[in-house]
C-alpha cells in the first residue's frame, strides 16, 4: 500500500440508514491516488451503498466523506462540480435510451461547457476507440449487447476526464461470455493509473488488479488488505466463510 501518495477519497465513520434500517454502521478508510480498491462482500452488506455515498447518490446519514478535496458530507458543497471529477459505472449500464452512443458520450461535456461540439466529438471517438467500439458510434443503446453497453458506459464516464472511477458491480448483469471484454477495459484503466473503487463479485479481477481488497459485511469493513492477504490468509471468520462460498 502506497501511503505516501495523495489521499483521493477520505472516509471517516461513514454511516447510512434507510429509515430504521442501518446499512452502513461506520466505515473508515483512505483511498490514495492511483490505487485500485476492490470491494467484496455478501449481498446486502453495504458495498453498493458505500460506493453510492462516495458521490452522494445516497445522502450520507453521518460521518465524513471527502473526495478530491470536496466535502461530500456537507450540504453546502457543489456536488455537481465534484461529480464531474468522479465517473461512475452502473450494474445496469444506464445508457441514455433517447441518445445514440455519440450522444451519450457528448452530452455531459457539451452541456457542462467542458468542450465545444467538435472537441467533444473527437474526444468521444477517441474513447470509443479505446474501448473498441468505434464502429458503434451511431448505434442506439438498444442495438448493443450488454458488454458493449457497459464499455460505452465506461467511455461515457471517461469523456469527463475524471480523476476517480467508481464501478458498481459492472459485470453482474452481463452474460458470462461478455464479462471478459468489460474487465479487460477496466484492467487497461487500472494500468494507466486511474484511481478506482470497484464493487464486484469477480474474485479473479480482485486478485489480479486490486492493490487492496475491502471485505464489507453488515455495514462495516470486516477485513482489508492486499489480495494475497485476503484470499490466501484471511483472518476474520466472516471473511473465511464468505470466501469459502464464492471461491
Amino acid at each position: 500500500m502506497a501511503d505516501n501518495r495523495n489521499v483521493k477519497i477520505h472516509v471517516e465513520n461513514l454511516q447510512k440508514s434507510f429509515g430504521k434500517h442501518k446499512v452502513l454502521t461506520g466505515i473508515t478508510t483512505d483511498i490514495h491516488e492511483g490505487e485500485v480498491v476492490v470491494v467484496i462482500g455478501p449481498s446486502g452488506g453495504g458495498k453498493s451503498t458505500f460506493l453510492r455515498c462516495i458521490n452522494r447518490l445516497e445522502e450520507i446519514s453521518s460521518g465524513t466523506v471527502i473526495v478530491d478535496g470536496y466535502d461530500v458530507s456537507s450540504k453546502k458543497t457543489d456536488i455537481n462540480k465534484m461529480r464531474e471529477n468522479v465517473g461512475m459505472v452502473f450494474q445496469h449500464f444506464n445508457l441514455f435510451a433517447n441518445l445514440n452512443v455519440l450522444g451519450n458520450l457528448m452530452l455531459a461535456p457539451t452541456e457542462l461547457k467542458k468542450a465545444n461540439k467538435q472537441e467533444a466529438k473527437e474526444e468521444a471517438l477517441k474513447m470509443l476507440d479505446m474501448v473498441g467500439l468505434l464502429e458503434k458510434a451511431e448505434a442506439f443503446p438498444h442495438q448493443l449487447s450488454g458488454g458493449q453497453k457497459q464499455r460505452v458506459a465506461i467511455a461515457r464516464a471517461l469523456c469527463m476526464h475524471p480523476d476517480i472511477m467508481l464501478f458498481d458491480e459492472p459485470t453482474s448483469a452481463l452474460d458470462p461470455e461478455m464479462v471478459g471484454e468489460v474487465l479487460a477495459v477496466m484492467k487497461e484503466l487500472a494500468k494507466k493509473g486511474m484511481t478506482m473503487v470497484v464493487v464486484t463479485h469477480e474474485m479473479g479481477f480482485a486478485r489480479d488488479v486490486a492493490d487492496r481488497v475491502l471485505f464489507i459485511a453488515d455495514g462495516i469493513i470486516v477485513e482489508e488488505g492486499t489480495p494475497e492477504q485476503i484470499f490466501q490468509n484471511p483472518q476474520n471468520q466472516r471473511t473465511i466463510d464468505f470466501l469459502n462460498c464464492v471461491l
Binding site: 461529480r83 445496469h92 445508457l95 435510451a97 452530452l107 455531459a108 469527463m160
Partner: protein
C-alpha cells in the same frame, strides 16, 4: 335533416369553430398547468408534491359542470356582494379557465406517471456525470417520458374537446348550445343531435389520425 343543414349549416359550422377555439385555448393553458404541476409532483420537495397533490385531487373531485357554474355565476356574485362592483367574466374566459384547470389536473397526472415510469437509473447516470437536476430532466428523462405519454395525452385532448360541450350551460355558443337553439326553433331534435354528434366524431377522427402520424414519427428512432 336536409332542411337543418341548408338553413343552419353555416350556423353550426360557426359553432364548431367556437368549440374548437375553446378546446384549443383550454388545451394550451391546460398543458402549461399540467407540465408545471406534473413537475411539481416529481421533484424532491415535500411541499411541491403536496401542492400538486391537493390541486389534482380537488379538481378531480369536482364535476366540471359545478366548476363552470361556480366560476361563471358564483364568483362574480360573491364579488358583487363583497366589493359592490359588478365584474362579469365572458363565457369564453370562464370556459377557458374551467377547461384549462380541469385538463391541467389530468395532464399533471399523465406527466407524473410518464416521468416516474422512466428507470431512475437514467437520472442517476446523468447526475453522476455532474449534470444538474433540471438539465438531466430536460435532456434525458423528459424526452423518453414524453414519447411514452403521447397516447395518454392524445386521449386527454379528446376528452377535453368533448368537455367543451359542458360549457353550454354557461351559455357559451358552442355546438351543443347552438344545437339546442336550433331544436327550439325547429323541434327537430333527432336530426339535430345526429348532425352535432357526427360533427364531433369527424373532428375527433381527424385528431386521432394526426396523433397516429405523430406517434409513428416519434417511434422511427427506435
Amino acid at each position: 335533416m336536409g332542411r337543418i343543414l341548408s338553413e343552419y349549416g353555416i350556423y353550426l359550422l360557426e359553432a364548431l369553430g367556437k368549440t374548437l377555439l375553446l378546446a384549443l385555448l383550454g388545451l394550451f393553458f391546460g398543458c402549461i398547468i399540467g407540465v408545471v404541476f406534473g413537475l411539481l409532483s416529481v421533484v424532491k420537495s415535500k411541499v411541491c408534491n403536496w401542492i400538486s397533490l391537493v390541486y389534482v385531487n380537488i379538481i378531480r373531485g369536482i364535476p366540471m359542470i359545478v366548476l363552470a357554474l361556480f366560476v361563471y355565476i358564483g364568483v362574480p356574485y360573491a364579488f358583487k356582494n363583497f366589493f359592490g362592483t359588478r365584474v362579469m367574466l365572458t363565457s369564453l374566459a370562464a370556459g377557458t379557465i374551467c377547461l384549462a384547470v380541469n385538463c391541467g389536473a389530468y395532464m399533471s397526472e399523465i406527466i407524473r406517471a410518464g416521468i416516474q415510469a422512466i428507470d431512475p437509473g437514467q437520472m442517476e447516470a446523468a447526475r453522476s456525470l455532474g449534470l444538474p437536476y433540471w438539465k438531466s430532466m430536460f435532456r434525458v428523462v423528459l424526452p423518453q417520458a414524453i414519447k411514452n405519454m403521447v397516447p395518454s395525452i392524445v386521449n386527454q385532448f379528446i376528452i377535453t374537446l368533448k368537455d367543451t360541450s359542458i360549457l353550454s350551460v354557461i351559455g357559451f355558443p358552442e355546438l351543443v348550445n347552438k344545437g339546442q337553439n336550433i331544436i327550439a326553433r325547429t323541434f327537430m331534435s333527432f336530426q339535430t343531435w345526429i348532425i352535432v354528434g357526427v360533427m364531433y366524431l369527424f373532428v375527433i377522427l381527424v385528431l386521432q389520425w394526426v396523433a397516429k402520424m405523430l406517434e409513428r414519427r416519434l417511434n422511427r428512432g427506435r
